[in-house]
């Protein structure tokens, strides 16, 4: 399984020379199986380039949305496969307590926010609501669960015969926690991440910033490292970089966290365009 980052930024796209290395596009990750099967995680602005030819010519595309905040769906209307007549496209994501996923997507994919309606797309679109137990998509086994973030938000655990990826791009596992995070089922998202070869996790803030943003649904770099250690992952990719954090600051945040917490696994800030091979 190969992971490629097409957008790593959180909240708002932030292109420019100061963010060129880690990237300015919002959340989008490509996951490729050994046989070329593909999953797309989230539809932030990074999805435009992925859908513009980099996907190749798959017979089926599955787009997994963790939630419907704008930084995770803004690129949806610019995702090329949606406009390929007859192409089988599946969108997976959470419903709300009162609206179906299709209805929620339709709020964005309709005027005045967007000129093309969901129902007018020429692809063969199927919408699936998650969490819905374990789903098998080609070589991928996909589990999902609601996690701690404002509004219905899921994380995903994606496994193949080669390895396991956990994707929790927007996650505040330490909400209301003053000391160390708890094990034993009492930390949000832990089962999704448990023993994963690669964890992609929210690391939007530093500790000082978080103090003024408790409850906004995001994690600090240090809490992300702590969560990864609790889950005993093999590798951590910090994700959902704050739009105000330039490349130099991200370097500093990672270096400081590693020096302070001494994790037993590699930690890096996910960078747009970077790839990671997961598992053997």
């Amino acid at each position: 399984m190969r992971v490629k980052f097409w957008g790593t930024r959180g909240s708002l796209a932030s292109p420019g020379p100061d963010t060129a290395r880690y990237g300015g596009n919002t959340a989008c990750v490509e996951v490729r199986g050994e046989d070329g099967a593909v999953l797309v995680l989230d539809a932030g602005t990074g999805i435009r380039l992925l859908g513009g030819g980099a996907l190749g010519t798959p017979s089926r595309v599955d787009l997994l949305l963790t939630h419907l905040h704008m930084d995770h769906v803004q690129g949806l209307g610019f995702f090329g496969p949606l406009y390929v007549p007859g192409l089988e496209v599946h969108i997976w994501g959470p419903a709300s307590t009162t609206l179906s996923l299709r209805a929620r997507l339709g709020r964005y994919m309709s005027p005045p926010l967007f000129p093309v309606r969901l129902r007018d797309l020429p692809c063969r679109l199927t919408v699936h609501e998650v969490p819905c137990g374990t789903v098998h998509i080609g070589p991928f086994s996909v589990d999902s669960a609601l996690v701690c973030h404002p509004g219905p938000t899921t994380g995903f655990r994606i496994s193949t015969a080669q390895g396991t990826l956990a994707y929790l791009p927007d996650h505040e596992p330490a909400l209301g926690v003053s000391g160390p995070m708890a094990g034993g089922g009492w930390t949000s998202g832990l089962a999704l991440a448990e023993g994963a070869d690669l964890l992609i996790h929210d690391a939007q803030y530093d500790d000082r910033e978080y103090a003024a943003r408790v409850g906004w649904g995001h994690s600090t770099v240090s809490r992300a490292v702590e969560f990864a250690a609790l889950a005993r992952v093999g590798r951590l990719a910090l994700f959902h970089h704050d739009p105000g954090h330039d490349d130099a600051m991200l370097d500093t945040l990672v270096a400081e966290a590693v020096a302070r917490q001494r994790p037993s696994f590699p930690v890096e800030a996910a960078g747009e365009g970077a790839t990671i091979d997961v598992g053997r």
Binding site: P94, S96, L146, L175, G184, S188
Partner: protein, 131 residues
């Protein structure tokens, strides 16, 4: 221990920040958590009692009415909330694990999460007086 649902985790985290005594049970009635203010009423720290099946917690605190008659489990607000999935409220007396009898009012309500998943029930306690 299995992964708790995020709604239950958030309820516990909310409870841990409240001065109101809060008692949380899972869908089968198993005690999952009570907060520090509840520890003062129940007479024991949660870390010491740990999780407890419904058969145990519904009797261990010896709930009685004002005349001292034992209240059967199915008449306790939390058990009603669990079984009928409706809110319930009543006052009664209980004996904490420290031996103190207390007059409490309890409001219980079912906890229903995304997609209508039944996740258990929550009880809030108000202490009226102690004997």
């Amino acid at each position: 221990m299995p992964q708790q649902e995020v709604e239950v985790i958030l309820t516990r985290q909310l409870a841990s920040c409240l001065v109101m005594p809060v008692f949380i049970v899972g869908p089968a009635g198993d005690l999952l958590y009570y907060n520090e203010p509840a520890e003062a009423i129940l007479g024991h720290r949660f870390d010491e009692t740990g999780e407890m099946p419904v058969q145990e917690w519904s009797t261990v605190f010896e709930p009685t009415d004002a005349s001292g008659a034992v209240i059967p489990p199915d008449q306790l607000p939390l058990v009603i909330a669990l079984r009928s999935r409706t809110p319930a409220h009543r006052d009664f007396w209980l004996r904490g694990l420290d031996g103190t009898r207390r007059h409490v009012e309890v409001t219980a309500f079912p906890l229903v999460g995304q997609a209508g998943r039944f996740l258990g029930a929550v009880a809030l306690f108000w202490e009226r007086e102690r004997a």
